[in-house]
């Protein structure tokens, strides 16, 4: 040790400065690298703890969706856009400014075919009229829809209740899950609302397009992020209000971010 100190003292000034510079920079580099690697491993372990099996499955499915074809997503969002369009046509008043804004944004980002949308929009409206329950604007303007809805409810009261599994998965964590008893022929949206009531959470948006569940809204994580749903592992090309559930169905609501 003393020899080493003597050697250091014997070195000329420039050499000392250079050795000092090199040691400082190497210590800095190694410290920075070690800090980074440790930090990264911490993040990984946390993610592993947080991930449940179901979430991993859904992630894989998401990846498949993205890689195979984005048709499902685009179709779903297209149909939502079309529903919004038809709403505007029917109401003709400027009550839904926010809807206009969102639909315009989506149209610019999605490049929808106008010809196909016209054809499918009629279908959507028919489905929409029977099952729409939450959109206050609609209920005020269209009384005929309300009549249709009450008739449908009366029909379903006669049938037995069904139980469905509903899971709501947010960003990397399960927000809520459970089995809910709903009326026969109830829509996916109804089941979601019931589960949210049980857990004391809110569902915003309409039955045709859910904008947020439990404080997590669309576009929170980018322009193409939002809520989607699956029934028994399949993404239906229907809005949540128009998909009829049957007994023992597994419904999964999950948050996506297509970048």
């Amino acid at each position: 040790m003393k020899k080493f100190v003597n050697k250091l003292k014997q070195m000329d000034r420039t050499k000392k400065i250079v050795v000092l510079f090199i040691t400082i920079s190497f210590v800095f580099i190694i410290g920075f690298g070690c800090y980074h690697s440790l930090f990264d491993t911490n993040v990984d372990s946390k993610q592993e703890i947080a991930n449940t099996n179901s979430i991993e499955d859904i992630k894989e499915n998401d990846l498949e969706d993205v890689t195979d074809d984005s048709n499902n997503i685009s179709e779903k969002q297209q149909s939502d856009v079309e529903v919004d369009d038809t709403k505007q046509n029917e109401t003709t008043s400027q009550t839904t400014k926010t809807n206009e804004n969102t639909s315009e944004k989506k149209q610019t980002s999605k490049t929808t075919d106008t010809t196909t949308s016209k054809n499918t929009s009629q279908k959507n409206t028919s489905q929409f009229q029977t099952t729409d329950s939450s959109n206050s604007h609609k209920n005020e303007t269209n009384s005929s829809e309300n009549n249709n809805k009450t008739e449908a409810n009366q029909d379903t009261k006669e049938d037995n209740n069904i139980s469905v599994n509903v899971q709501v998965i947010g960003v990397k964590k399960m927000m809520m899950s459970g089995t809910v008893n709903v009326e026969n022929q109830a829509s996916v949206y109804d089941a979601l609302v019931k589960l949210a009531k049980q857990n004391g959470k809110t569902v915003s948006g309409s039955s045709s397009y859910v904008t947020g569940i439990g404080g997590l809204y669309e576009k929170d994580y980018g322009p193409l992020s939002g809520w989607m749903y699956k029934v028994n592992g399949v993404v239906p090309n229907k809005s949540a209000g128009s998909y009829k559930l049957s007994d023992g169905d597994n419904v999964v609501w999950y948050y996506v971010n297509y970048e």
């Binding site: 250079v18 090199i22 920079s25 580099i29 690298g33 980074h36």
Partner: protein
């Protein structure tokens, strides 16, 4: 060292840096085959460590104005300073045993310095992404380090006999 020799030192650094910069820009198309490391080693052997460090800093900063400035500039400076220090240590060792370093031995030394340069420059990736990224980056660059090393070897063999004579004459003028 009087004032006149200081001016001469600065001018010498300027000329050598200009040669290095010109060679770096002219040989851009060849991957890593450049005489810069060889010239730095030779100048450290004759003029000492401080001269080599100054030459390194000027060369790197000015040539990176043309070739692209970035975080790698610091790491290039660092790696050439490491090479300067290693050269100085070798020269001190040869002074201790009172021998002149052989041409081929120094050429092999400059060959090794090619790998040292590659290693220190790759440490940038260690800083950014940890050991995983560093390992992959370094292994991907070993071929180019080899090119650098081989280039150093031949450039040393070409430059040393010519530059040594000139540098020794200049050193006599400096002192």
């Amino acid at each position: 060292m009087n004032d006149m020799s200081k001016v001469k030192e600065i001018s010498l650094i300027g000329i050598l840096a200009a040669v290095n910069i010109a060679s770096r820009i002219a040989l851009q198309s060849l991957p890593n085959i450049k005489p810069v490391t060889s010239i730095i080693i030779i100048s450290v052997m004759i003029f000492g460590l401080a001269f080599g460090v100054k030459l390194t800093v000027v060369t790197t900063i000015v040539s990176n104005i043309f070739l692209g400035m970035g975080t790698w500039t610091f790491f290039q400076i660092l790696s050439w300073i490491v090479i300067c220090l290693l050269t100085q240590i070798l020269v001190d060792f040869y002074k201790k045993i009172k021998k002149e370093p052989h041409l081929i031995v120094m050429a092999c030394f400059s060959f090794l310095m090619g790998y040292v340069f590659g290693f220190v420059v790759s440490l940038e990736q260690f800083m950014i992404g940890g050991p995983g990224l560093f390992f992959s980056y370094y292994t991907a660059g070993i071929f180019f380090d080899t090119l650098h090393a081989v280039g150093n070897f031949f450039f040393y063999l070409i430059c040393a006999p010519i530059l040594m004579k000139i540098f020794i004459k200049e050193k006599q003028k400096l002192v």
